[in-house]
Amino acid sequence: MNVKPANHIKTFFKNAAIRTDPKMDEAVLNEVLMAQEQAKEKESAIVQPTIWRTIMKSPITKLAAAAIIIAILIGVHYLGRSIDGASVAWAEVVEQISNHTKYKCRQRVVREQGPQVPTMQVYHLNLSQRRQEVEDGSIHIIDMRGTDAITVELYPAQMKATVTKLIGFGPRKDPHIIEMVKRFEQESTERLGTKKQNGKILHGFRHQPNEYNDFTVWVDPDTKLPVEIELKHTQAGQTIFLDEFEFDFELDPSAFSTDIPDGYEVKTIIQDYRPVESKEITAEDIRSGLNHTAYTIEKLPWIEKLIIVQTVDPLSRIGKVYMTGILSDEGNNIIIDQSNTHSDYKEALMKWILKEQLVMETPSGAKLYTHPRGSDYARIYLESFAKANPEFFDIKNLSEERFTRMIVMSDGTIISLSANKQMSNKKLQELVESLIEIKAN
């Protein structure tokens, strides 16, 4: 009996079982039930004032009302919320924060997975300038006052510095966490009650602006200023902790200078944030735009059309990419992508590529590797090209066969190839072998 493939797959789905750890089940269920309780309390808190007003209207029920109010206060206290008379209004916190634009704090980031971020002391001089002293001894200075922002990383122990110039990035004000906290509205900020820390009672507030961010702020009721802020990135599995706040710190202005001290070995990285005009260009434009070998394609008999465009990098939305679009006589749309890479990025990219599968090595020594998200990558680049040049490709013709290959040329240059439809190995090899270096006129 010839069973259709779909039935086999369906059987696989059916047999593929899952079970759960009973302890974790209970733990998750408890959290879910607690969420239900909290939701009910919120609804009840909104409804409560209406009930009070109704009761108080009637002179007969005033005594009973007093009993209810006392009961409710006791109930609130039982749930852990404060009935401390010296409570803090969120608006007062915002006012105090707004009076202090200069502050320092300790910043710790805890990640559930992956490499950890070092702890640092952060000095915010203003919204455009800050200094970060990292626990590994390095120092970062960030200055976004000008059109071209600058970040400096100093490594005093090694006498090395990395300067990154972000062209067209500024002037910019950094919406750091205190700035975000200032914008919370009173109505959407939940009171958490109090906690005792280092002999002091702190008042807590919570605000979840969206499903990605969860803020908790603990405030000194005397100064109305934050003592601790916790920002949970719920989807990213990381939490940022800010504490050891000092408002209006004293530090010499030269501590925020981006000048490199004498004797340092300096590496400079340029990142271009200027808007990119999407347009058709020539091979010579690619050569003059790239900081490494630029490639063009020799005409092949099965290439019907060849167009070169520059556009903004569709992944990072920063900087230019140069895409050579090829339309084959079989109606396939192929894109060769080239862009600038600085040495650190190229090194990291090579490490990543070498973990992929080598699918072809051409006679000239070019190596083709798979891409783990080749289908998504191909879609992004095809869409980007279609936007820059709608005549080349209609996104409605996006094929499920699309794929991407990372190509490491014999001279070490890395370029990518994305195609809307499958290609034979013969045609793929022909295309890669037809890549020639663009030389100056």
Binding site: A6, I9, A16, R19, T20, V32, Q36, L315, W352
Partner: protein, 179 residues
């Protein structure tokens, strides 16, 4: 279906037991769906945890009619697709995440424990494009119709059926010999 309607009514009235029953009834289904869509047990656990917490807080918004299982499955699929989209928007091509490989070993605090068949299926699904993976999983495991899936993917029914055909064909090749 009738039981689900009663459960929803009771949940909307604030019943903890109803919420507990909903959780116990659909927890495994949702975990399996999330594992098949992400090929990452930790991510799947996070998503399903968040979906149930969100559901617990949504009594006022849930409609008493409608298919509860489909509703929860759609929530899981939407959440995972949003995560995929956010990852693509914020990540360069995996340079900063070279070690992100699906975790298949049960750690000390792992909630979901996969059978070997589910691990094989999930690994195979991870090798087909996301849209195809979503269609095949929601159709075969979620028992959703192509029309429902088309609405979720904001695509035409024809496109969805095409994705299904390609996806099944690739899965067949990948799972050949493992069945």
């Amino acid at each position: 279906m009738v039981e689900d309607r009663l459960l929803i009514w009771r949940f909307k009235s604030g019943s903890r037991d109803a919420l507990r029953r909903i959780y116990e009834k659909y927890r495994n289904d949702l975990l399996k769906l999330a594992v098949n869509l992400t090929n990452d047990v930790s991510t799947a656990e996070d998503v399903v945890h968040d979906i149930f917490v969100g559901f617990a807080q949504s009594a006022a918004r849930i409609r008493p009619t409608g298919n509860l299982r489909s509703y929860l499955m759609t929530c899981v699929a939407n959440r995972i697709r949003n995560r995929q989209r956010d990852r693509q928007r914020h990540e360069l091509p995996a340079v900063d995440d070279p070690d992100s490989v699906a975790s298949d070993s049960a750690g000390p605090e792992q909630w979901a424990i996969l059978s070997e068949e589910l691990q094989v299926l999930s690994d195979a699904l991870a090798q087909i494009p996301y849209e195809q993976r979503e269609v095949v999983t929601l159709y075969m495991q979620g028992d959703m119709t192509f029309r429902q899936i088309a609405k979720l993917q904001n695509a035409s029914v024809n496109t969805v059926q095409g994705r299904y055909r390609y996806g099944v064909s690739k899965l067949q090749a990948l799972l050949n010999g493992k069945m």
